[in-house]
């Protein structure tokens, strides 16, 4: 085959391959997805983070406003500390509360921010005061069984 024809086809092949890689990186992966140019990070301590993972979304009113950039264990207060990286264009009052929620019944976990009412806004390095950890299914069942048995005991007492 002509040399120029081979060159052309190899060129097309390599270009298509690179296009496929770019498609995988841009459209399929999250490269260039949520990546705010300027961010600020705040900390939130939780008694239990459940299945929360780094890179989980931070949502407010269901809209993604940031990501969990780091999760570590605070060995002095025995709590989990999540570092939330928030988009600079979203400002939240200082008394904003954070809670760990699950999207759907078995879905991934995320942090929900509930805006407070204070005048001053959160700044870089602040810590969220009011937090609500993940709901642990075992504890819920335990509580349910406990209250159920109390009810039955009360009913027996009443007889």
């Amino acid at each position: 085959m002509e040399r120029t024809t081979i060159d052309l086809w190899v060129g097309i092949f390599v270009a298509a391959g690179i296009a496929a890689l770019l498609f995988l990186a841009m459209k399929v992966g999250n490269f260039g997805g949520f990546q705010a140019a300027s961010t600020y990070s705040v900390q939130a301590s939780f008694d239990n983070i459940g299945g929360l993972k780094a890179r989980a979304p931070v949502k407010s009113a269901g809209v993604v406003v940031g990501r969990v950039s780091e999760i570590r264990f605070d060995n002095e207060r025995f709590q989990a500390v999540a570092v939330l990286t928030l988009d600079q264009s979203f400002a939240f009052p200082k008394d904003t509360s954070a809670s760990i929620m699950t999207s759907g019944l078995l879905g991934e976990q995320y942090i929900a921010l509930d805006a407070g009412a204070e005048e001053t806004m959160l700044a870089e390095g602040d810590a969220l005061k009011i937090t609500q950890g993940a709901v642990v299914l075992e504890n819920l069942i335990g509580q349910f069984l406990y209250s159920k048995s109390e009810e039955e005991a009360a009913a027996l007492d009443g007889q």
Binding site: F13, G17, A19, A20, L24, A25, V28, N30, F31, G33
Partner: protein, 264 residues
């Protein structure tokens, strides 16, 4: 009785020694190929020709099978996810299974049977018709002139083919899931983007395909170079290439997956 035992043991021993010997020769052959790659890089036209015959000519089979694998994933995934009411996760299912596993593995299997067998047959036939010996007579090193360009051409083609396979597969999953069945388009893409990590998933898939490319190519080249110079020998070598490289791909895939995705 005693005779039978010694005969079995002797056969086992000779098998083991032969296998080890072949593996040793194959490793030295691999080293030799890398060592003689200089000529190939000084004459990129040789590599371009090999990219054409291994990469461009494998395009059709890769693209078509990628599309169909993705479409089947879309159909099957939808059936199962629907029972749990989470058909929006179809994008995640299709993208992760293609990018992490099916893309590199199936593309490499197709590559082994499409390009690997051709490499073995070509080199085997060159050996059988004494073209390689003629080259040596002319003081042209056949490893530098024939083997190394084929090696680099195939190693460059393989990751590109795997990426195209994955991309086509995701497009196929999109066609079936969104266009045909009617899964919500927004959540199909956004959940996929939230779950697929560029470094963790896409890059690891590319690394896998490079490793598979090296394994398939070196097996194909060695089988061809080592083939007995007869018609039967070349045909057996071609068969062995496809069988050995398929097994090598699957075994390597397990090892790589165990290393890459242990923490996930």
């Amino acid at each position: 009785m005693f005779d039978a035992i010694t005969r079995t043991l002797r056969r086992l021993g000779s098998r083991t020694v032969n296998t080890l010997w072949r593996m040793g020769v194959a490793t030295r052959f691999f080293g030799l190929t890398l060592l003689h790659s200089g000529t190939a890089f000084r004459r990129p036209q040789l590599i371009l020709k090999e990219i054409f015959s291994t990469g461009v000519l494998s395009l059709i089979i890769i693209v078509v099978s990628g599309l169909f694998v993705g479409m089947v994933l879309g159909l099957q995934g939808y059936q199962t996810l629907q029972t749990y009411g989470s058909e929006e996760a179809l994008g995640i299912l299709v993208a992760l299974s293609l990018v992490r596993e099916l893309g590199p593995v199936v593309a490499a299997l197709l590559f082994a049977s499409r390009a690997g067998s051709a490499i073995t047959a070509e080199i085997g036939l060159m050996k059988a018709t004494e073209q390689l010996a003629a080259m040596e007579m002319m003081a042209v090193d056949p490893v530098a002139r024939v083997v190394a360009p084929k090696f680099w051409g195939a190693v460059i083609s393989m990751p590109l083919l795997a990426a195209m396979f994955s991309a086509m597969g995701i497009f196929g999953g999109y066609l079936v899931g969104v266009v045909l069945i009617g899964v919500d388009e927004g959540s199909f893409w956004s959940q996929m983007q939230a779950a697929v990590d560029v470094r963790e998933d896409v890059m690891n898939g590319v690394i896998k395909s490079v490793v598979f490319g090296v394994a398939v190519t070196i097996i194909a080249l060695f089988e061809g170079y080592d083939a007995p110079p007869t018609a039967e020998g070349v045909s057996r070598a071609t068969t062995r290439t496809v069988v050995t490289s398929s097994l090598a791909i699957l075994a390597l895939d397990f090892v790589l997956t165990a290393i890459m995705f242990r923490g996930v």
